[in-house]
């Protein structure tokens, strides 16, 4: 009854409510944030705009964490495909695949190309979004991060192109699946195409300082950056622009005060003009992150489970130094004086060892079962809680050797030899016996300017393990050759050999051989050197490597 009485009213009310509800429903849905969600754990793109230094810090650490993922690949692909590292009967299939240039699609050390692009894409995000106009204390502070990301990106691109033959270049961050699919379809670029683009990309920023992020445990974050000049030098080397390369390497030495220190020499004790059998191993400090030899290191700790396997691979004897590598050291002449020399480069001690926790005695010379001790030297901290680990893509000695490679190809083999033997210092430069007149010009090119007092103590690379080689006039000299070009080739071989003695197992070997072979347009150069370590199937490997297609990993 009550309802009936109110019916008219109710109908009105009903109509009103109905209209209200219909409207409100769509009004609600129209309220676009009704279905928008937030997260305390994830950070969405529109919230992460890199407007402050802290933001870029987070990105830098993320990029470092991604570099960790390619560290093992960098070393294993660089060395197992070279002549100095080899596999053992304990090596798994995948390591053997790399060793035999027969890499399958699911090889974990080679199927991680996405990890390289992860570095690149995260760098792109910073480069694209960072606000470089922020000024603090009169400095445009954000340029440092900007430049650092460009450098890391360029180095990573170089690794993709060198390992896989080509890389897809893009410079805007991929944030959507559609973008990813479109960019994937683009034509990949070879190392020469890429080098041109990358040089243009990073060259304007080569004078920007690296960001300073302090240190974490024993790792100096400044070591995590790649100097733009080093990368520029490398890219110029790949392009054959040797003067540009030499200038960049030189300027980096000068600007960052990278010198060849005399205290990194290992030497044999001499008493009464005879070797006592004792020796010092100062060269090992090269791999101590507290020592200013390192330029760039990729660091990781296993406390959070980061895979960084080089030390355990060597401890488990899944990788080992090749006989070629051991012989390299053993057959070098250690020169003390005119009347006192012996065979054996002391850099063997530390590069390899027969024991997992200490160096072997010089008098008990083993012939087999070597470990790669460098990988253990490169673990700065190891306690019950964690092991910190590093690899070193760039260090000062490598910079000097690259410089030598560049100036040698500028027709200055004696200058290049001085890097190895005498040291790049004023004394060497003014000594015409070391650098003959024909390698000088007036004015002196920038890359030959070592007159600064900074360089006065520079020693030759070879003095790290071969004694007073700077005073040797018998063994380590350029023989008389018909043409300057022959001398250049001779010294280039010496540099290649020096790289093996000094930087074995550090990851640069295969690309170094590739670069020389390409430069000489002679695949057999690489094929001969690499196949030397293969005993069972030397001819097969050699035949394979005569075709440069097999220098690259098939995707």
């Amino acid at each position: 009854m009550k309802y009936l009485l109110n019916k008219k009213n109710d109908m009105k009310k009903f109509n009103k409510i109905m209209i209200f509800l219909l409207l409100s429903s769509f009004a609600l849905t129209g309220c676009s944030d009704l279905l928008d969600v937030d997260s305390n754990r994830e950070v969405f793109v529109d919230e992460y705009q890199l407007k402050s230094a802290n933001d870029t810090l987070y990105s830098m650490f993320a990029i470092f964490s991604q570099l960790e993922k390619i560290a093992d690949s960098y070393v294993l692909l660089g060395e197992l495909r070279g002549d100095l590292m080899t596999v053992t009967d304990k090596s798994g299939l995948y390591l053997k695949e790399i060793n035999n240039f027969n890499i399958s699609a699911n090889n974990p050390y080679a199927n991680n190309i996405k990890d390289y692009y992860s570095v690149i894409n995260n760098c792109n995000y910073v480069i694209h979004n960072i606000d470089t106009s922020i000024v603090k204390n009169g400095n445009k502070v954000m340029y440092k991060e900007y430049a650092a990301c460009k450098a890391i990106r360029a180095w990573t691109y170089m690794q993709i192109a060198l390992n896989y033959g080509s890389a897809i270049y893009y410079d805007k961050p991929i944030l959507t699946v559609i973008d990813a699919e479109n960019i994937q379809k683009e034509q990949a670029k070879t190392i020469t195409e890429l080098a041109t683009i990358l040089i243009e990309d990073i060259k304007p920023w080569k004078d920007i300082d690296e960001p300073s992020l302090g240190s974490i445990y024993t790792h100096y974050n400044s070591d995590s950056f790649f100097p733009i000049r080093f990368i520029l030098g490398d890219l110029y080397l790949w392009l054959g622009q040797y003067e540009n390369a030499a200038n960049e390497y030189h300027d980096l030495m000068f600007k960052n005060e990278y010198i060849m220190r005399s205290d990194l020499k290992s030497s044999r004790e001499v008493i009464n003009k005879a070797f006592t059998g004792n020796f010092s191993v100062n060269w090992l400090y090269s791999f101590n992150s507290n020592f200013p030899e390192v330029i760039t290191s990729i660091a990781a700790t296993n406390e959070y489970g980061q895979q960084f396997d080089l030390d355990s691979l060597t401890l488990n004897r899944m990788i080992a130094p090749s006989e070629v590598a051991i012989n390299n050291w053993d057959k070098q002449m250690y020169y003390h004086s005119n009347s006192l020399d012996t065979l054996g480069d002391l850099r063997k001690y530390g590069s390899v060892s027969v024991s997992t926790d200490q160096l072997f005695d010089i008098n008990t010379v083993p012939t087999t079962n070597y470990y790669i001790y460098k990988f253990i030297l490169m673990n700065p901290v190891s306690d019950t809680k964690h092991t910190d680990k590093e690899i070193m893509p760039y260090r000062i000695t490598l910079l000097y050797l690259r410089y030598a490679e560049a100036v040698n190809r500028l027709g200055k083999p004696n200058l290049a030899l001085a890097v190895l033997k005498n040291g790049l210092n004023t004394n060497s430069l003014i000594n015409r016996k070391i650098i003959p007149q024909n390698e000088l010009s007036d004015p002196l090119p920038n890359y030959m300017n070592f007159s600064d007092i900074l360089f006065s103590g520079n020693i030759g690379v070879r003095m790290h393990g071969c004694g007073n080689v700077n005073t040797d006039t018998t063994y380590y000299v350029i023989p008389k050759l018909d043409a300057i070009q022959d001398s250049v080739l001779y010294v280039e071989d010496l540099i290649q050999q020096e790289l093996a003695l000094e930087t074995a197992f550090e990851g640069n070997r295969f690309h170094d051989l590739m670069r020389i072979a390409i430069r000489r347009d002679d695949p057999s150069y690489l094929a001969n050197i690499v196949s030397e370590k293969h005993t069972d199937n030397k001819q097969v490997i050699k035949a394979k490597l005569l075709d440069p297609i097999n220098w690259y990993i098939k995707k």
């Binding site: 009550k2 019916k7 009903f14 509800l21 429903s25 769509f26 609600l28 849905t29 129209g30 309220c31 676009s32 009704l34 279905l35 969600v37 997260s39 754990r41 994830e42 950070v43 969405f44 793109v45 992460y48 987070y58 650490f61 993320a62 470092f64 964490s65 991604q66 960790e68 009967d89 304990k90 798994g92 299939l93 053997k96 996405k114 990890d115 692009y117 992860s118 570095v119 894409n121 995260n122 995000y125 961050p173 991929i174 944030l175 959507t176 990813a180 699919e181 994937q184 974490i216 445990y217 790792h219 660091a299 700790t301 296993n302 406390e303 959070y304 489970g305 980061q306 019950t384 809680k385």
Partner: protein
């Protein structure tokens, strides 16, 4: 008509705002048309206006004696009559096809169609039988079962249950309608539930839980830190509080993008009248220890272990280092340590005990009705020290604020504390260790004089822990808390139109702590970290949800022939789920059991997921002449999980919306006049329906580009781009078609329900590889199709109907076939423990993929003949020899058999989906006694016996089953068990059909006997005493301890026996008072 419009709507889905508005317009037209049609029928009242008087007799189906005081009504309950003492009545009906509703004390409800007759004889059955004629909770509220057009089954007799969680009821009560697979023997662990096959691969495949109108988060992917334990949301409800449970298998489109896996509606009790009633329910029961699979005894194990040492290449001196081979009793300590007879299962198991007390009161006055309950459950598990204590309370009230305005209030509270222990195959699981630990060892250590001590022995020389040490020192607890408050204002705007809103806030939280002790568990090597002596874990899960469902309900009976019920509603959900997990190792002592941050290998992880969804829905039920039923539903859903530009939806207001229409029709054939003379058919209804539903079980934020935190070194935090925006990611769409028949024959002695269904799920969520330039691995995208086809049959026979003795039999059969019909990616496999599951076009979901075997090479000559080889990790090949398993070498695509056993020789070796499953029930009553029996069965499902694959691998120093006594040991020996070799270099124990078994079983799930005490007093309305037993008998050829288990909720883990605690026999005694 409505279907046409719906199709039209679908065609319009073109991601354009212009079209959206057309859709809204079309949507409004639909509403208008529907209401217009009803208005029209209002103007044209049905043919008979005056009505007709019919007479009838109501009598007992057995005695044929008249039933007096039976109430007869027609379907709108407006006209009624009552039988006289001769059982006779007369009633005036308006339509000749009216249906009479008869209710009488002690009898079941019955519905009798008049079919144009002038007089009817109605026979009633005792309410000790079950009946089809009842009201059922459907998607649009309570409705007569006889008028439902969707496929819905309900259970409302939950009076004598010995279970702790509601999903355990589903299996025995609705065994063919829900394939409920009990997870393990731990109390209240619940079941994995699958309705009508498998409707998703990677998203949630579990049904939607709707409790008192509120959608619950089912937490299907929430993982516990306790191994082998599941979080089960349904154990937050005391089964005694449940009024009824409905399983809705089709016609669920009103739930839009959430209902592809079916819907389970749970309704809790409310007061129905102002009379105060008090109920008290108590039960107590014991659960027996499980029977172990037959393991080798100590001496056999000693021989086995020394054989294994030899296979390891050990000789004289090496072997003598092992204490278990000590033969000299004068070496007191070593000899005594290794010469014991220990039944390790005694150390681990106990008989379980469950006590449950529950009191409820309901009543009220004209202004308010209330229902209040308080329950206490206490369980001692069958593994020592485990158990649970649960307290739950519920307060449901209904306030009548005015004639037009009522308010409902629901408050639920649950607090559960569990003591758990790791279960399944794990070095910290005492149940597992009790199987594999050598029987000649002792739980206690020995002094140098060879005297036993009371100190627990530490991890033995086989690297096996000490189960009682683990039980004593480990900490495994879980505290769970759920609270919800709901209000339900209902405003009757007009007698026909109601505005109501169901609002609910819930808070769910679990806090878990776990400590795995040192010394008594084996030291484990954690890859990339180091060695772990002990482990501490902690996890907090939190889920808060705000839910609102506001609806306008228009219900109108225009005349005797036209009845309309329409619901227009908006459902909004805001769910926040957080989990925080911490793990640490090597605390140094069994006294340091809490997380400090100072120990080794600290790992921290978690999620914070916000989900918001909105559904606009319309449901129209139309009933014409009580015989023709149409039900149409449509939901338009938006969710924060959907991409902004999905293919299957339309765009509006910057969001993507999915449209889910459905139509179901029913025809009550038995009410037709032409059925007048077909007496043996009492009831016949044909149903059919087609509808779309969705599955929004996409991970949160999947559609958005975001950065996640990563660690650099051990200190610095970085933000790494970890997901790309995928604006196309959307719900999975399931199109369901159903035809059904409900039949009651021979004076209701026989009733059948038959449903045939086929469904097609498209837009399956699958993992796709991202292009490598993105730097990321994979993303979730839609694509691929899967179909399910099957039937459900329920038959119910009233076998005996005597005065005292009544017997009713029920048979329920479910069947489905699931086939994946398309995948947007190539076929893929998923690793499941040591096994592999294939997802491939043309196969069912979850099929096992491994090697086929053909016995064991008895001789070297036979092996050399076969020349089967295997690739070693170092690149060389090894030939399978005598005593190795003969794996089947499949021909490659060129038809060549290469003789190398590798990946390409894998094939489908089993299907975990059953051919048939269901229940057989029997209800026998004799006077005040009732004996109810439920058998459950599953036929034709394959099982991957992961536990057995570990117990018969013959590759390590774990004790093995007695089948290892048959292991190949000598040239020429013909056997089915390969040789035991340390480390199994030839992979004889690899995932193969050796571990696939037929999981067919029949189980006497429950048998219960109850007695209603003949007490009638002013204070006591009734007392029931019952005894019951569970799992008394299981018939199966399955070799594991229990053929029913569910390793995880994921589709890929179905039919995988992970060695969880089996269900064992249990016996209960209960009493129930009604005051």
């Amino acid at each position: 008509m409505s279907m046409k419009i719906i199709n039209y709507l679908n065609r319009l889905n073109m991601n354009s705002d212009a079209f959206c508005f057309k859709q809204i317009a079309a949507f409004s037209i639909l509403i208008l048309l529907l209401s217009a049609s009803s208005v029209k029928s209002e103007n044209n009242p049905a043919d008979i206006k005056g009505g007709k008087l019919i007479t009838g007799l109501v009598r007992d189906a057995h005695t044929k004696l008249p039933v007096s005081a039976a109430q007869i009504t027609v379907s709108d309950k407006s006209i009624s009559a009552v039988t006289d003492e001769k059982g006779k009545f007369s009633i005036k009906i308006i339509s000749p096809t009216a249906v009479l509703y008869i209710s009488a004390y002690d009898y079941n409800l019955s519905e009798v169609p008049v079919r144009g007759r002038d007089s009817v004889i109605i026979e009633l059955y005792s309410n000790q039988f079950s009946t089809y004629f009842k009201t059922v909770e459907g998607v649009s509220g309570i409705a007569d079962n006889s008028k439902l057009v969707a496929s819905i089954k309900s259970v409302d007799d939950l009076s004598q249950l010995n279970v702790i969680a509601a999903d355990e009821v589903l299996q025995s009560a609705l065994g063919a309608d829900v394939r409920a697979i009990s997870r393990s023997g731990v109390a209240g662990m619940g079941a994995a539930l699958f309705i009508r096959g498998i409707n998703s691969l990677n998203a949630n495949a579990q049904p939607l839980f709707v409790v008192d109108g509120v959608i619950w988060a089912n937490l299907y992917d929430a993982e516990s830190i306790h191994q082998g334990f599941f979080s089960n949301p349904l154990d937050n409800i005391d089964v005694n509080d449940i009024e009824n449970i409905s399983v809705i298998k089709d016609g669920t489109s009103i739930y839009g993008s959430k209902a592809a896996n079916g819907v389970i509606l749970i309704k809790t009790k409310r007061a129905r009248s102002i009379v105060t009633k008090i109920g008290l329910s108590i039960f107590s029961g014991i659960t027996t220890r499980p029977e172990s699979v037959p393991m080798m005894n100590g001496e056999n194990f000693r021989i086995y272990a020394s054989d294994l040492l030899k296979s390891k290449g050990f000789t004289g001196n090496d072997i003598s280092n092992y204490g278990f081979l000590e033969t000299d009793p004068s070496n007191l300590k070593t000899y005594n340590t290794n010469h014991n007879v220990t039944d390790w299962s005694d150390q681990v198991y106990q008989n379980g005990l469950t006590n449950s007390y529950m009191i409820n009161a309901n009543g009220g006055d004209e202004k308010a009705l209330y229902y209040f309950s308080l329950g206490l459950t206490d369980n001692k598990g069958i593994v020592k020290t485990t158990g649970l204590q649960r307290i739950n309370a519920r307060f449901n009230a209904d306030f009548k604020l005015s004639d037009a305005f009522t308010m409902g209030l629901n408050i639920g509270f649950n607090h559960t504390e569990r003591t758990l222990i790791d279960d399944g195959i794990s070095s910290s699981s005492p149940t597992w260790i009790s199987l594999v630990k050598s029987p000649f060892l002792s739980p206690f250590s020995f002094t140098t004089n060879g005297e036993t001590t009371t100190d627990f022995a530490t991890t033995d020389e086989f690297d096996t822990g000490n189960p009682i040490g683990i039980i004593d020192y480990s900490i495994n607890n879980l505290k769970k808390f759920r609270f919800n408050i709901g209000i339900l204002p209902v405003y009757k705007i007009t007698p026909d139109l109601t505005l109501s809103s169901q609002f609910d806030y819930s808070l769910y939280k679990t806090v878990e702590g776990r400590y795995v002790p040192m010394h008594f568990t084996a030291v484990r090597y954690l890859p990339d970290y180091g060695y772990s002596m002990n482990e501490i874990n902690s996890q907090v899960l939190r889920n808060t949800a705000i839910f609102d469902d506001t609806r306008l309900t228009y219900e109108k009976k225009f005349d005797a022939d036209n009845h309309l019920k329409a619901i227009l509603g908006w459902r909004y959900m805001n769910n926040y789920y957080e989990s925080d997990y911490v793990e640490e190792h090597n605390s140094g002592s069994n006294n340091n059991t809490t997380i400090t941050g100072a120990y080794n290998f600290l790992q921290v992880s978690g999620v914070n997921n916000s989900t918001r969804s909105l559904s606009n829905y319309l449901n129209v039920d139309y009933d014409f002449k009580n015989r023709y039923f149409v039900s149409g539903a449509m939901a338009i859903d938006g969710s924060s999980r959907f991409g902004k530009a999905t293919e299957g939806g339309f765009s509006m207001f910057g969001q993507s919306w999915g449209v889910f229409p459905a139509v179901n029709v029913g025809w009550l054939v038995s009410s037709e006049q032409f059925m007048k003379d077909i007496d043996f058919v009492n009831f016949c209804k044909i149903r059919g329906g087609y509808g779309l539903t969705g599955n929004d079980g996409i991970s949160d934020y999947e559609s958005m580009a975001y950065f996640s935190s990563v660690r650099f070194m051990n200190k610095a935090n970085g933000l790494l781009l970890s997901n790309l925006e995928n604006s196309g990611v959307q719900w999975e769409t399931t199109a369901k078609t159903n035809v059904g028949l409900d039949l009651s024959l021979l004076k209701e002695r026989l009733s059948f329900t038959f449903d045939y269904f086929w469904s097609n799920t498209s837009d399956l969520l699958v993992m796709k590889n991202l292009p490598e330039v993105s730097g990321l691995g994979f993303y979730w995208d839609n694509g691929g199709m899967m179909k399910n086809e099957g039937f459900e049959v329920a038959a119910n026979i009233k076998v005996l109907n005597f005065k005292k003795l009544k017997w009713e039999l029920g048979l329920n059969v479910g069947h489905y076939q699931n086939i994946i019909t398309a995948l947007p990616v190539s076929n893929y496999t998923t690793r499941v423990f040591e096994g592999e599951v294939l997802t491939a076009v043309g196969q069912s979901a979850g099929v096992f993929y491994g090697y086929k075997t053909n016995g064991i090479f008895a001789t070297e000559a036979q092996a050399a003949d076969a020349n089967l080889r295997m690739l070693n990790p170092d690149g060389s090949y090894t030939q399978f020899g005598a005593g190795d398993v003969i794996f089947e070498d499949l021909a490659d695509k060129d038809g060549n058999k290469d003789g190398i056993i590798n990946e390409i020789d894998k094939q489908v070796i089993g299907n975990p989906n059953p051919d048939f499953y269901g229940t057989v029930t029997s209800n026998l009553s004799f006077g005040r006694f009732a004996l109810n029996t439920v058998f459950t069965y599953s036929y034709g499902n394959d099982v991957y016996n992961y536990q057995r694959s570990m117990l018969e691998a013959g590759s390590g120093f774990n004790n093995q089953t007695t089948s290892l006594l048959r292991r190949w040991t000598a040239e020429g020996q013909v056997t089915d068990q390969p040789k035991a070799v340390y480390g199994d270099p030839m992979g004889n124990a690899r995932f193969s059909d050796r571990w696939i078994e037929d999981g067919t079983y029949v189980r006497l799930k429950t048998i219960s006997l109850s007695y209603a005490l003949p007490i009638k007093s002013n204070y006591i309305e009734g007392i029931n005493i019952w005894i019951s037993a569970n799992n008394l008998l299981t018939l199966t050829n399955y070799l594991g301890s229990d053929p029913e288990f569910s390793a995880r909720n994921s589709v890929y883990y179905q039919g995988v026996d992970a060695g969880l605690l089996p269900q064992t026999r249990s016996y209960y005694l209960g009493v129930k008072f009604n005051l």
